[in-house]
């Protein structure tokens, strides 16, 4: 019985998707705009940027990677990755000196969540950009 090796489809070259993916991280919705998905790109940009700005206006705290016990490490490193995923929004707010201490209060707490979620939503947008760039999705 002849056995046939199943051939995996070749991964598309990085030059096809890397620029769009990088732009998608840096500017929320930017990857979609680069790939000529203007409507979707503008919607993503508006939603993610608005969420981040609301988080800033609610005086949410930014995470710093800290080590300690497992839970502290997970929360702080995960939160930092979430913040960093917002791309230029995070970099710009840091560069302009935004530094809000983590204080008690429902509004501050919502603000912190808004800031992290904006980054997590941008990760979803980046995945979508990648799938469009490699033509797995229209």
């Amino acid at each position: 019985m002849a056995t046939q090796k199943e051939r995996k489809p070749l991964a598309p070259p990085a030059s096809e998707w890397a620029p769009a993916l990088a732009l998608s991280w840096l500017v929320p919705g930017g990857g979609h705009l680069l790939l000529k998905k203007t409507g979707r790109g503008l919607l993503l940009m508006a939603a993610i940027t608005s969420m981040f700005l609301c988080g800033l206006m609610m005086r949410g705290a930014m995470f710093e990677p800290q080590s300690g016990d497992l839970l502290t490490t997970l929360i702080n490193v995960g939160g930092f990755i979430g913040n960093l995923a917002s791309g230029v929004l995070y970099l710009l707010s840091r560069w302009l000196g935004y530094s809000q201490p983590d204080v008690a209060g429902a509004v501050h707490d919502y603000g912190t969540k808004f800031l992290v979620t904006a980054g997590l939503l941008n990760i979803l947008a980046m995945v979508d950009t990648y799938e469009i760039a490699i033509r797995r999705k229209d």
Binding site: I48, Y110, D128
Partner: protein
């Protein structure tokens, strides 16, 4: 930068709105499906929000 002070309900509705827009845009393949999914996600958020709110109110006694 101006300061924004929202109630729990307003903040949660705003959160639901932004999240639903992104979920709708990235999940489906046609504009019609995206719109439907976005509205569906937003409705789910609101139902969960009101339901959990009542649950906490009743549970608190």
């Amino acid at each position: 930068m101006p300061k924004m002070t929202l109630s729990h309900f307003e903040a949660a509705i705003l959160f639901s709105l932004f999240t639903s827009v992104v979920m709708g845009v990235v999940t489906k393949n046609t504009d019609r499906d995206r719109l439907h999914y976005g509205i569906y996600t937003f409705a789910c958020f609101v139902v969960a929000l009101v339901g959990l709110g009542w649950l906490m109110y009743l549970g608190h006694g």
